[in-house]
């Protein structure tokens, strides 16, 4: 489903930040993306959510070679990827409902149709009572759940999360990972970048470990909670 072959990345004429990345993500898999700070986890997520183009190697995504895709032809791929950013990147001037509805509106979904979907999802993430609230009035955990709801509202095939538990206490972090597990059971492929060793051990999913610019795959313990 997603295949990296000798993928490399450098910014302009600088040194290669990532090199020789080789791995495959099977449909419905769950991986943690681990590695020390500055190892390039966020950069690799950018490659995965098509925010950056590799400077070397080949990426196959959903059966398509990314090489040669134009800005227009890349859009249908982007719409199959949900991203939860570390800093949430919610739009503060929009309500929780409008933030979550954004991906559906972008693809031109009818207001009537999207209303029930958004409300249902917000209930599922425990924010049914905050539909009209604005992000600045929410706690960190609530913002995180809005960001997740926005990332999954259009039922993406791939969900990427960048340090989703970084700003949360352990209990909320655990609940969040359970939520991801639930999504994964529904068939969504998930990659979670984290430096929280405890969570990685607790959930036992395989790891894509980044170190010195390259990646190694560490098998999981499959001891999910």
């Amino acid at each position: 489903m997603i295949q990296f072959e000798k993928v490399a990345l450098r910014y302009e004429t600088g040194p290669e930040i990532l090199h020789d990345l080789n791995f495959t993500l099977e449909p419905g898999s769950f991986h943690f993306l681990t590695g020390p700070s500055g190892a390039g986890k966020s950069t690799m997520l950018k490659l995965l959510y098509l925010g950056l183009r590799p400077t070397g190697g080949k990426i196959m995504m959903f059966g398509q070679d990314l090489h040669g895709l134009t800005r227009e032809t890349i859009l249908p791929l982007r719409r199959q990827i949900g991203v939860v950013f570390q800093d949430f990147r919610l739009l503060d001037h929009l309500s929780v409902f409008d933030n979550v509805a954004l991906p559906l509106r972008i693809v031109g979904r009818e207001e009537k149709e999207l209303k029930s979907n958004v409300n249902e999802l917000l209930k599922w993430v425990g924010l049914g009572d905050h539909v009209k609230s604005r992000p600045p009035t929410l706690s960190g955990g609530q913002k995180q759940r809005v960001a997740i709801a926005r990332a999954i509202i259009s039922r993406p095939r791939l969900l990427l999360a960048d340090e989703p538990t970084g700003n949360l206490d352990d209990a909320i972090g655990m609940r969040l990972l359970h939520l991801f597990d639930e999504l994964n059971r529904m068939g969504t492929t998930i990659v979670v970048a984290t430096h929280n060793e405890g969570l990685v051990q607790e959930f036992g999913h395989p790891q894509l470990h980044l170190g010195q610019g390259s990646v190694s795959v560490i098998a999981g313990s499959k001891k999910a909670a």
Binding site: L50, G51, R71, L75, D92, L94, D98, E111
Partner: protein, 302 residues
């Protein structure tokens, strides 16, 4: 039901980008307002000039004057003058009459005053000639020749040269005014384009986010164009209102002057429609300028 109505009303006002924030909006509104104010006034001038041209043309077309210069030592007798009028009236489609002292008094009144003793002034004899528009037989040359035969010192003034010069001047003025309004429109478009570029840079993070979620360039440009349209309409409506107030003020100030110095400005319903449409035209210009600027800038994003 009411809720649904509220949602319907609210939906178009929603911007996925926080474009309503920041000070750029006021700048666009004010600039477009001033441009529209000037454009409306320029348009009124163009319309006034067009209608004045028609009035001048209608007033002088087919009109000629024969002047018999004053010559104390060799006065032309009244009989001779009447002979000339008779000869002229014999020409097909030509109507001639000697201007009375009262007529001449009305002509020179603005310069000499109404109390001038005209009888004592060395004034020429003037014969007013009206020629039917479709009359091709009685050419100015024929009329001039007829006059010379009867009174050799008679001079024919066809006004045509003067009218042609006036029309040329009016046409040039109109072209300049139209060019000014085009420049105003172009400047307004440039202002909107510059503001759109600034706002695009200001909201780069949000724009990137929309792209990552899968928004097309067109979707993002639509956000900008909607806002530019609204701001331009608001500003231009203000400009139109101010221009109408100015016109009313000029109209009131002109009341005491009469139509001698300044011809009255009477706009046709179509011309009024053009003025009223100014905000809409400004809105469309702003919308197009904003859309193309944003699309052009986004095309450069990798």
């Amino acid at each position: 039901m009411t809720k649904a109505k509220n949602n319907k009303k609210r939906a178009p006002k929603r911007y996925d980008l926080p474009l309503h924030r920041g000070s750029g909006g006021h700048l666009v509104s004010w600039t477009i307002g001033v441009m529209s104010y000037l454009t409306v006034l320029v348009m009124v001038l163009v319309f006034a000039l067009t209608s004045a041209q028609s009035v001048w043309q209608a007033g002088l077309s087919g009109r000629m004057t024969i002047e018999i210069p004053y010559n104390k030592s060799n006065m032309v007798s009244a009989d001779k003058q009447n002979d000339l009028v008779r000869e002229l009236n014999k020409l097909s489609g030509v109507s001639a009459r000697i201007l009375s002292l009262e007529d001449i008094g009305a002509l020179v009144g603005p310069w000499l005053g109404t109390g001038a003793a005209l009888a004592e002034l060395p004034l020429p004899v003037m014969i007013d000639i009206t020629r039917a528009d479709n009359n091709r037989a009685a050419t100015p040359a024929l009329i001039g020749e007829t006059a010379k035969k009867t009174i050799p010192t008679a001079v024919l003034d066809t006004h045509e040269e003067w009218l042609a010069d006036l029309m040329q001047l009016a046409k040039a003025c109109r072209m300049v005014l139209i060019a000014i309004s085009l420049i105003l429109g172009f400047t307004a478009a440039l202002t909107v384009a510059a503001t759109s570029r600034t706002r695009l840079a200001l909201h780069k993070e949000e724009v990137d986010l929309l792209h990552l979620i899968g928004a097309t360039d067109s979707y993002i440009a639509t956000q900008f164009q909607r806002q530019a349209f609204r701001l331009a309409i608001e500003g231009a409506a203000g400009g139109l209102f101010a221009a109408l107030l100015t016109m009313a003020g000029i109209g009131m100030a002109k009341q005491g002057l009469g139509d001698t110095l300044l011809p009255g400005i009477h706009l046709s319903p179509l011309q009024w429609l053009w003025l009223v449409l100014t905000p809409l035209i400004a809105g469309v210009i702003a919308m197009v300028a904003s859309r193309f600027t944003v699309l052009y800038a986004l095309r450069k994003v990798p």
